[in-house]
Amino acid sequence: MKKSKYILSNGLAFAEEKDMQMLQLKGTEGWHLKDFALGGYRLEKRECEEVQYSIDYRKLLEDDKHEYFEVFASSGWSHVCSKGDMHIFKAMPGTIPIYSDANSTIDKLSRLARPIYCVTFFFLVTTIILWALMTITDGPIQQISKWIVIFSFVFLIPSLMMVCSIYYKKWKQRIEV
C-alpha cells in the first residue's frame, strides 16, 4: 500500500481555512500532514486520528525559534512543518485557536500579504512599462514587449486576485472588532 501521497492546495491567500479543514478530514482517513510540497501538501499514512491544523506566517530568526515553538507547544499546538515563513501546527480538537483576537489576526494577514504585494507591484510595473514600450515602438522590440506584456499579465491577474482576497479578509476582521 502507498505510504505517502500528495494533495493540492486551494491557495492559502484565498482558502486557508478550507486547506486546514481538508487536512483535518484527511486525518480522519489516516492521512497525516508530513510536509509542504510544491503547490500542496505531502501526507503520510498512519492510524486514523482526529486532529486540527492551523497555519501561521512569521519570519523567525534562529534565536526566536525555540521560544516560538515552545509557546505553541504549551497551549497544545505541536509543530508539524515549516517552509520559509509558513509554519503549520496541529492540535487535538477543542484546543484554543492560535489567534484569539481580531487585531493579531489582522497582523497575520498583513504578514501574509507583504510578499504578495511585492510580486503584484513588480508585475504591475512590468506590464505598464512594457505596454507603453509596445505602443510607442515597432518592429522586433514591439514584438518582444508584446510577449512580455502577455506573460506578466498572466501573473498579474492571479496576484491581483490574491490582493483583493486579503483586503476582503482584513475588512471582514475589522468589522468584527
Binding site: 492551523s54 521560544e67 509557546v71 499546538w77 484569539s100 483576537d101
Partner: protein, 106 residues
Amino acid sequence: MKSLEQLTDSVFYIMAALAQPKHGYAVMSLIEEMTKGAFIIGPATLYTIIKKLLNEQLIMLHDETDSRRKVYVLTDKGRKVLAEDIERRKIMITFAETGLRGESSH
C-alpha cells in the same frame, strides 16, 4: 504593524502578567488561571503581542544571558502606559456601576 494606541484586553492582560518577570508561555497560563479560564490567549496572538510590546519598548528582556529561554518584564514606559489604562478602565467600571445602581450623576 498597527501600533498600540489603546490597549486591547489581550494586550492589557499580557502587560499585567509581565509586571513581574515571566516566560512567554507562563503568561498564558497565568492569565487563564487568574481569570478562571474566562479569558484565553492563543499562542500566535501572544507571540504577536510580545513582539509588538518589545518593539514599542513597553517590555524588555529581563535577563539576556540565556537567549533560548526568554524572560520579559515591563519597562518604566510600560508601567506608565499600563497605569494609565487602569485609570481608563476604572472610569468605565465606575460609570457602569453607577448606572446599574440607578444613581444619577446630576
